[in-house]
Amino acid sequence: MNALIEAIAGAAADWRNPGHPRRRQSVERTLKADNRFTEQSIAFAINQQMEQLTINNLHNWVRDRCTPEALKVGVLNAGNIPMVGLQDYLAVLLTGHAYRGVVSSKSPALMPAFAASVERRVPWVDSEFVSVDQLWSAAEALLATGSDVTADWCRRKARRHGMPGDRCLVRGHRYSIAVLDGRENSDDCDRLAEDVMLHGGAGCRSVALIFAPRTLEPDRYLESLALCSTVFPPHPATSGALAMSQALLKAIDTPHAYGEGLEFLVSRGGPDVQGPGHVRWAVYDELEEAVAFIDQREDELQCVAARPHLHRRLPDCCMVVELGETQRPPLDWHPDGVDTVAFLAGLSGNLPRPEG
C-alpha cells in the first residue's frame, strides 16, 4: 500500500500545477462536455482535492484498513461537479480492491486522466474505466451516487446481476443548508457565498436553503453572493435556467432577489429546496425551528453550515461544518454519513494488513 500511496501523492503533486499537461488536457475536454462547469469551478475542485493528497493524509485516512480478499468494485460516478468521484477511486484502490469506474458524460475526462497519472507510477494497479454494461458484467460490489431514480435502478440492476445487497453502497440525492444568526461578519458572508455559488448550486454539498432570523436583512449576504459571482462566474446557461424560476416568483408575488445578470436567485419562503442556482431564504423566529427542520430532514441533508458558536445548538445527527467548508470536504469525509473506506474494507471482513 505504501507504494500506492506514494504514487497517488506523487500524481497529486503533479496535478497541483495547472500547467501539468495531463491536467490541462483533461480540463479542456471537460469544458467541452455537456455540463455547467466553468474553468474556475474545475480549477477549484482539482486544487482543493489535490492539496489533500499527501502521504500523511492518505495514511491517516485509510489507517491500514484493507480487505483480505480483493473484489472488483464497480463505481458509478456522478457528473454533477468536477472530480466528484475521486474519493471513491482512492478508497477502492487503497483498501485493496480493483476499480471499475463509469464516468458521467458530463465529466468524462478528469477522473480517467488522474487515474492515468497514478497508473504511470504503479502500472500494476488494477483500475479501469468501463461502460455501464461492462460494469455490470464485471463488478462484484458497487458504489453509486445519484437521484432516487438512479439509486433504485442501481439496486435493481445489482440484484439482477446477483450482487448481494450488502455489497452495494448506493447514495441518494442530498443537499446542504446554512443556519445564520445574524452575527456573521463579512468573511462569514463571503464564505457562505462560496457554499452557495461555487458549483452553480449543484452537488449535495452546495447550500440550497439558508435559515435566517426573521429580522435579519439579507442585503450584505446578497452583496457577498454578487461578489462571489465575479470570482466564480456562473456558467453562461445559468441565467437562462433561472429565468423560469424568476418568472414564476414574480408571477406569484414571492419576494426575491437576484444578481444583475441573473447569476443567482434568492427567494424568501418556506424551507423548500429549489433548483440549482436558486437559494431559498427561510426565516425563523426561534432557532429551534431550524433545529427541528434538521432533525426531521436528517436523511436529506449532507451538511449544515453555521458559525462555530451555533454548532453546539445544532443537532449532531448530520455533518455540521463552518461556513465556507461545504465545498472543501476533507479527504476522510463520510458521504451520506457512511465511511466509504470502512464499507470497502468490510466487504470481506476487516482485517488490518501488516505494515509494509
Partner: protein, 314 residues
Amino acid sequence: MQITTLESRFTRAEEGQSFLTMARAVQDYQRAHCRMYAAYGLDHLPVEAFKRVPVTTFDPAEAEAVFESSGTGQSAVSRHYVRCLQVYRRSVCTHFAAVAGPGPFTILAHLPGYAVQTSSLVCMVQLLMERFGTAESAFFLDDCLPLERAMAGSAAPIVLFGAAFGLLDLVDRQVWPLPADSLVIETGGMKTYRQAITRSELHQRLAEGFGLPTRRIWSEYGMCELMSQAYAKGGGVYQPPPWMRVSVVDSQQPDRVLPDGEPGALAVIDLANLYSVSWLLTEDLGVGHRHGFEVLGRLPASALRGCNFLIPSA
C-alpha cells in the same frame, strides 16, 4: 377563436396545425384572464404554481370542484380549481372510450382514500362509472366482495382501476383470476410500495395475480393539475389523447426539447385545462419515445442539484 368554441371543439384536436392553433388560442385566452400566467410570461408554467396560488381564469369562488394533490410529508398541496366539470367529463370519457371501447364495463376501483372528494382520480373513476359502468361497478378496499361478485359472473368486461401498491397487496393475498377480457389499470403510486420495483416487474406480478396476459395490464398517467390522462396499453409507453401533447424538455431550460431517449422533465399542453393553464411543466422525469412517453419517476428540485442521469431506460 372564442373560448366557447374551444370548449366545444377541444376533443376534436388533431395532429398538426389544428392542435397548435387551438393551443395558442387557449394560451391567449388564459393570458388575458389569468393575471398570474400573464405575469409569468413564459409558455410552460411549473406545476408548483398550483401549490402557491389559485391558477384560474375565473373567480375561484365559482369553481364547480377543487381537485387537490394527496401531498406527502410537509410538502404543500396542489389545488386545481375546476370551473366546469363538464369539460373534465368530456376529456375523461372521450379518451377512455377511444382506448378501451364504448363499454359497458363493470368498473371496479381499489383506490385508498376514495371517499376524498378532492381527488381528481376518484372523480375520474366516478365519471367513468356513470358513463360506462354497469350496476356492479363499485369502489372497494378491504372488503373485496365487489371483485368476487364480478369474478363470479359479470355482465360486462371488468375494468379494475387501482393504485399500484394496493393492487400488489391484493395479489399478494391471493390470485384473482379475472375473465380474459378484463383490464387492470394501475394509476401509479409505485413509490409508496414497500420497495420500489420496475413497471415491468409490477405488470408481471399483476398479470400473474389476476390471471391475465401483461397486455391487459395498463397504466394511467394523470395528476390533479391536468384535466386529461394518458394511458399505456401494456408496457410503459403512454399515449396522450389528441388534445394533449407531452414533450420531454431540459428541466432547467424548458424551451429546449430533448430528443427521444434522453431523460428530462415532462412538459404538457393539455387543452382540457381550458380555465386554468394548459401549458405546464411537470415535476415528473420522463423519456420520449416515437409514439409516446415513459415516466421514470419524480423530479424534485433537490434531485436536480445532485442528479445523475445515468439510466438508459426504466
